[in-house]
Symmetry: C2
C-alpha cells in the first residue's frame, strides 16, 4: 500500500495551494505521474529555486533575487511612490504602462479581524523613504475594499505631518461594465468623480 501513500503525500501538498480542492489535487498528482521525468525534475527544481533565490527588495519590498529589485535598479530614486498590497499588484500596475515611479509593497493590509495591525505590514520603511527620498506624491493603490480603504486612510493620516501629497486610485466604472449591474458605491463614486469631455 506504499504506492497509495506516496501519491497521497503529493495530493496533500497540492491541496495546500490556494483554491485547490481534493479532486483537482488528485488530477494534478496523476498528471505528475504521467509527465516525463525531465518535466517533473525541472518543476521540483523551479520550486526550490524560487524559494531559495527570491527575497524581498531592501528598498521597496518587492520580490527580488538581488538586494534591490529590477524596478528600483532601473528607475533609481523617483519622486512618487505607489503603495500596493502584494508583489502581484506591482506586476498589474506595470502592465498598465501608466506609471513610471517607484513602488512600496506592504505585504498585507491592516485587518483587525485577521489580527493584522500597522506593525505587521511593511509600513515603517515607507515613512523613512518618504523623508529620505524626497518624495512628492504617495499614490495608495490598495484594493477598494474595507481593509484596503482602512489601510489607505491610516497611511494618509500617518503621512500628513510630512506634508507629502497622498492620493488614492480613482473609483469608477470598469471597461465593459454594464451600468445596470454596477454596485451603488461604485456608481456614486463614478458620478462624483465625473470627468469633462
Amino acid at each position: 500500500m506504499k504506492n497509495i501513500d506516496v501519491i497521497n503525500i503529493l495530493i496533500n501538498h497540492f491541496t495546500r495551494l490556494p483554491g485547490v480542492g481534493y479532486k483537482s489535487a488528485e488530477r494534478y498528482a496523476y498528471k505528475i505521474i504521467d509527465a516525463d521525468d525531465e518535466f517533473v525534475a525541472s518543476f521540483a527544481r523551479a520550486m526550490l529555486d524560487v524559494k531559495a533565490l527570491v527575497k524581498l527588495c531592501d528598498r521597496c519590498g518587492n520580490f527580488s533575487t538581488d538586494p534591490e529589485c529590477a524596478i528600483c535598479m532601473r528607475r533609481g530614486i523617483a519622486d512618487t511612490i505607489c503603495v500596493v498590497r502584494d508583489p502581484k499588484d506591482v506586476i498589474a500596475i506595470e502592465k498598465s504602462g501608466a506609471y513610471g515611479g517607484s513602488y512600496h509593497v506592504l505585504h498585507g493590509v491592516i485587518s483587525p479581524l485577521d489580527k493584522k495591525g500597522p506593525d505587521d505590514i511593511n509600513l515603517k520603511s515607507l515613512i523613512i523613504r518618504v523623508r529620505d527620498e524626497q518624495i512628492t506624491e504617495v499614490i495608495i493603490a490598495t484594493n477598494p475594499d474595507i481593509e484596503g480603504e482602512a489601510t489607505a486612510n491610516y497611511i494618509a493620516a500617518l503621512l500628513k505631518p510630512s506634508g507629502v501629497r497622498v492620493t488614492r486610485l480613482a473609483q469608477g466604472l470598469s471597461l465593459g461594465t454594464n451600468l445596470e449591474y454596477v454596485d451603488e458605491v461604485t456608481l456614486g463614486a463614478a458620478l462624483k468623480n465625473r470627468t469633462s469631455l
Copy 2:
C-alpha cells in the same frame, strides 16, 4: 530582472497542470514563495518521489511502487476483472465498496480522433489474463461516452471467442438527479433497465 525569470519558470510549470490557467498558476507560484522552506522542500520531494517510485503493476496496470499493486497482492487471483480507463477509476470503484474482484487498467480508450488504436492501450495482457486466470466475468467500466462505449464494444467482441461473460456498468439515473434535467439517452436506458420493487 533575474527574479522575474525564476518566478516565471515556476508559473509556466504550473500552467502545464490540467485546467490551470495563467492567473491560477501565478497564485500558486506566489503561494510557494510565501510558504515556509520545509513545505516547499517536501512538496518538491513528493513530486520526485512519485515520479521515481510509482510504476505500473505487472498484472493489472494500476499504479504501484511494487511489481504487484496492493489490490492484486491483497486479493490474489479473483474470478472477475473490472476493466477501467485510468487508475483514478480504480480508486472510485474501491470507494463504492461494491466490488471485490481484480482490475485491469487500460490507460486510455480507443479514440481514432486522438490517433489511439487498440494497440495503444493496455489491452493485450487482458486477453492473456482472461485465459490464464480462469476469469468468469469481465465487467467493462469505461466511461459512458462515445470513446468509452466504442472501447467497451471492441473489448466485448475481442473476448467473445473465449466464452467469458462480458458485462457493462448499468446506465440510469444518478442519486439526487432531477428527472427534468436528465438527458434522453440516460432516461431511455433507465426505463429500459428498470428494476422490480
